[in-house]
Symmetry: C2
Subunit: 91 residues, 2 copies
Protein backbone atom coordinates (compact mmCIF):
# COMPACT_ATOMS: atom_id res chain seq x y z
CA UNK A 1 0.00 0.00 0.00
CA UNK A 2 1.39 3.39 -0.85
CA UNK A 3 0.57 6.81 0.46
CA UNK A 4 -2.06 7.48 -2.14
CA UNK A 5 -3.96 4.33 -1.27
CA UNK A 6 -3.61 5.06 2.42
CA UNK A 7 -5.04 8.53 1.92
CA UNK A 8 -8.02 7.08 0.08
CA UNK A 9 -8.75 4.74 2.97
CA UNK A 10 -8.42 7.50 5.53
CA UNK A 11 -10.62 9.77 3.51
CA UNK A 12 -13.31 7.09 3.44
CA UNK A 13 -13.06 6.22 7.11
CA UNK A 14 -13.16 9.81 8.28
CA UNK A 15 -15.47 11.16 5.65
CA UNK A 16 -12.96 13.71 4.44
CA UNK A 17 -12.01 14.80 0.97
CA UNK A 18 -8.86 13.22 -0.34
CA UNK A 19 -7.12 16.56 -0.15
CA UNK A 20 -8.11 17.00 3.48
CA UNK A 21 -7.16 13.46 4.31
CA UNK A 22 -3.74 13.99 2.82
CA UNK A 23 -3.29 17.29 4.59
CA UNK A 24 -4.26 15.61 7.85
CA UNK A 25 -1.85 12.79 7.32
CA UNK A 26 1.00 15.11 6.41
CA UNK A 27 0.34 17.23 9.46
CA UNK A 28 0.65 14.19 11.66
CA UNK A 29 3.86 12.91 10.13
CA UNK A 30 5.33 16.41 10.24
CA UNK A 31 4.42 16.73 13.89
CA UNK A 32 6.19 13.49 14.63
CA UNK A 33 9.17 14.59 12.56
CA UNK A 34 9.43 17.89 14.36
CA UNK A 35 9.58 16.12 17.69
CA UNK A 36 12.28 13.80 16.41
CA UNK A 37 14.25 16.71 15.03
CA UNK A 38 14.12 18.27 18.48
CA UNK A 39 15.69 15.04 19.69
CA UNK A 40 12.51 14.02 21.42
CA UNK A 41 11.07 10.55 21.14
CA UNK A 42 7.44 9.95 20.19
CA UNK A 43 5.64 7.32 22.17
CA UNK A 44 2.32 6.04 20.88
CA UNK A 45 0.76 3.72 23.43
CA UNK A 46 -0.39 0.49 21.88
CA UNK A 47 1.45 1.19 18.66
CA UNK A 48 5.10 1.95 19.20
CA UNK A 49 7.84 4.46 19.81
CA UNK A 50 9.80 6.51 17.31
CA UNK A 51 13.23 7.57 18.40
CA UNK A 52 16.45 8.80 16.91
CA UNK A 53 19.31 6.37 17.36
CA UNK A 54 22.89 7.50 17.14
CA UNK A 55 25.29 5.22 15.31
CA UNK A 56 28.98 5.38 15.90
CA UNK A 57 31.53 5.70 13.14
CA UNK A 58 32.99 2.35 12.18
CA UNK A 59 34.94 0.48 9.58
CA UNK A 60 32.93 -1.06 6.80
CA UNK A 61 33.69 -2.80 3.57
CA UNK A 62 32.68 -2.35 -0.03
CA UNK A 63 31.27 -5.80 -0.81
CA UNK A 64 31.99 -5.30 -4.47
CA UNK A 65 35.69 -4.67 -4.11
CA UNK A 66 36.35 -5.97 -0.60
CA UNK A 67 38.01 -2.68 0.15
CA UNK A 68 37.80 -1.34 3.68
CA UNK A 69 36.04 1.97 4.09
CA UNK A 70 35.47 4.35 6.96
CA UNK A 71 31.81 4.87 7.75
CA UNK A 72 30.93 8.12 9.47
CA UNK A 73 28.74 8.32 12.55
CA UNK A 74 25.12 8.81 11.65
CA UNK A 75 21.63 9.00 13.03
CA UNK A 76 18.64 6.94 12.16
CA UNK A 77 14.98 6.97 13.04
CA UNK A 78 14.02 3.81 14.80
CA UNK A 79 10.55 2.46 15.42
CA UNK A 80 10.06 0.11 18.32
CA UNK A 81 6.73 -1.71 18.18
CA UNK A 82 4.73 -1.68 21.41
CA UNK A 83 3.87 -4.90 23.18
CA UNK A 84 0.32 -4.86 21.85
CA UNK A 85 1.59 -4.50 18.30
CA UNK A 86 3.93 -7.44 18.66
CA UNK A 87 1.14 -9.59 19.97
CA UNK A 88 -1.03 -8.88 16.97
CA UNK A 89 1.51 -10.64 14.80
CA UNK A 90 2.45 -13.41 17.19
CA UNK A 91 -0.34 -15.57 18.48
Amino acid sequence: MNKKQLVVKISGALNLSKADAERTFDTITNTILDALKADDSVKIAGFGTYKVAKRKARVGRNPRTGEQIQIAASQKVKFLPAKALKEVFNR
Copy 2:
Protein backbone atom coordinates in the same frame (compact mmCIF):
# COMPACT_ATOMS: atom_id res chain seq x y z
CA MET B 1 6.30 13.24 23.50
CA ASN B 2 3.47 10.87 24.21
CA LYS B 3 0.24 10.26 22.38
CA LYS B 4 -1.68 12.81 24.42
CA GLN B 5 0.78 15.56 23.57
CA LEU B 6 0.81 14.52 19.94
CA VAL B 7 -2.97 14.70 19.80
CA VAL B 8 -2.89 18.20 21.26
CA LYS B 9 -0.48 19.35 18.57
CA ILE B 10 -2.52 17.77 15.82
CA SER B 11 -5.69 19.27 17.17
CA GLY B 12 -4.08 22.72 17.10
CA ALA B 13 -2.59 22.36 13.66
CA LEU B 14 -5.77 21.05 12.07
CA ASN B 15 -8.23 23.05 14.12
CA LEU B 16 -9.97 19.93 15.43
CA SER B 17 -11.24 19.09 18.86
CA LYS B 18 -8.96 16.85 20.83
CA ALA B 19 -11.48 14.04 20.55
CA ASP B 20 -11.59 14.41 16.78
CA ALA B 21 -7.84 14.65 16.54
CA GLU B 22 -7.47 11.46 18.52
CA ARG B 23 -10.08 9.68 16.45
CA THR B 24 -8.32 10.80 13.30
CA PHE B 25 -4.99 9.61 14.56
CA ASP B 26 -6.38 6.26 15.66
CA THR B 27 -8.06 5.78 12.31
CA ILE B 28 -4.77 6.29 10.55
CA THR B 29 -2.80 3.93 12.75
CA ASN B 30 -5.54 1.33 12.46
CA THR B 31 -5.54 1.63 8.70
CA ILE B 32 -1.81 1.04 8.65
CA LEU B 33 -2.20 -1.87 11.03
CA ASP B 34 -4.88 -3.48 8.92
CA ALA B 35 -2.64 -3.39 5.89
CA LEU B 36 0.19 -4.93 7.87
CA LYS B 37 -2.10 -7.63 9.20
CA ALA B 38 -2.99 -8.46 5.62
CA ASP B 39 0.74 -8.93 5.10
CA ASP B 40 0.94 -5.81 3.01
CA SER B 41 3.64 -3.21 3.47
CA VAL B 42 2.83 0.47 3.88
CA LYS B 43 5.01 2.85 1.99
CA ILE B 44 4.88 6.53 2.87
CA ALA B 45 6.88 8.56 0.39
CA GLY B 46 9.35 10.86 2.08
CA PHE B 47 8.76 9.29 5.46
CA GLY B 48 9.33 5.57 5.42
CA THR B 49 7.98 2.08 4.99
CA TYR B 50 6.28 -0.15 7.51
CA LYS B 51 6.59 -3.85 6.89
CA VAL B 52 6.24 -7.08 8.74
CA ALA B 53 9.53 -8.90 9.11
CA LYS B 54 9.62 -12.59 9.82
CA ARG B 55 12.20 -13.72 12.33
CA LYS B 56 13.46 -17.22 12.43
CA ALA B 57 13.42 -19.46 15.46
CA ARG B 58 16.74 -19.53 17.25
CA VAL B 59 18.51 -20.38 20.48
CA GLY B 60 18.43 -17.75 23.18
CA ARG B 61 19.46 -17.53 26.77
CA ASN B 62 17.92 -16.60 30.08
CA PRO B 63 20.23 -13.81 31.18
CA ARG B 64 19.41 -14.48 34.81
CA THR B 65 20.38 -18.13 34.88
CA GLY B 66 22.47 -18.40 31.72
CA GLU B 67 20.30 -21.32 30.70
CA GLN B 68 19.78 -21.89 26.99
CA ILE B 69 16.24 -21.64 25.70
CA GLN B 70 14.60 -22.14 22.35
CA ILE B 71 13.03 -19.01 20.89
CA ALA B 72 10.17 -19.53 18.48
CA ALA B 73 9.97 -17.83 15.11
CA SER B 74 8.10 -14.55 15.31
CA GLN B 75 7.05 -11.54 13.35
CA LYS B 76 7.81 -7.93 13.98
CA VAL B 77 6.76 -4.62 12.51
CA LYS B 78 9.70 -2.84 11.02
CA PHE B 79 9.95 0.78 10.01
CA LEU B 80 12.49 1.69 7.36
CA PRO B 81 13.12 5.43 7.16
CA ALA B 82 12.94 6.92 3.69
CA LYS B 83 15.94 8.59 2.14
CA ALA B 84 14.56 12.05 2.86
CA LEU B 85 14.08 11.12 6.49
CA LYS B 86 17.62 9.88 6.84
CA GLU B 87 18.97 13.06 5.33
CA VAL B 88 17.14 15.20 7.84
CA PHE B 89 19.25 13.68 10.58
CA ASN B 90 22.53 13.43 8.71
CA ARG B 91 23.82 16.61 7.21
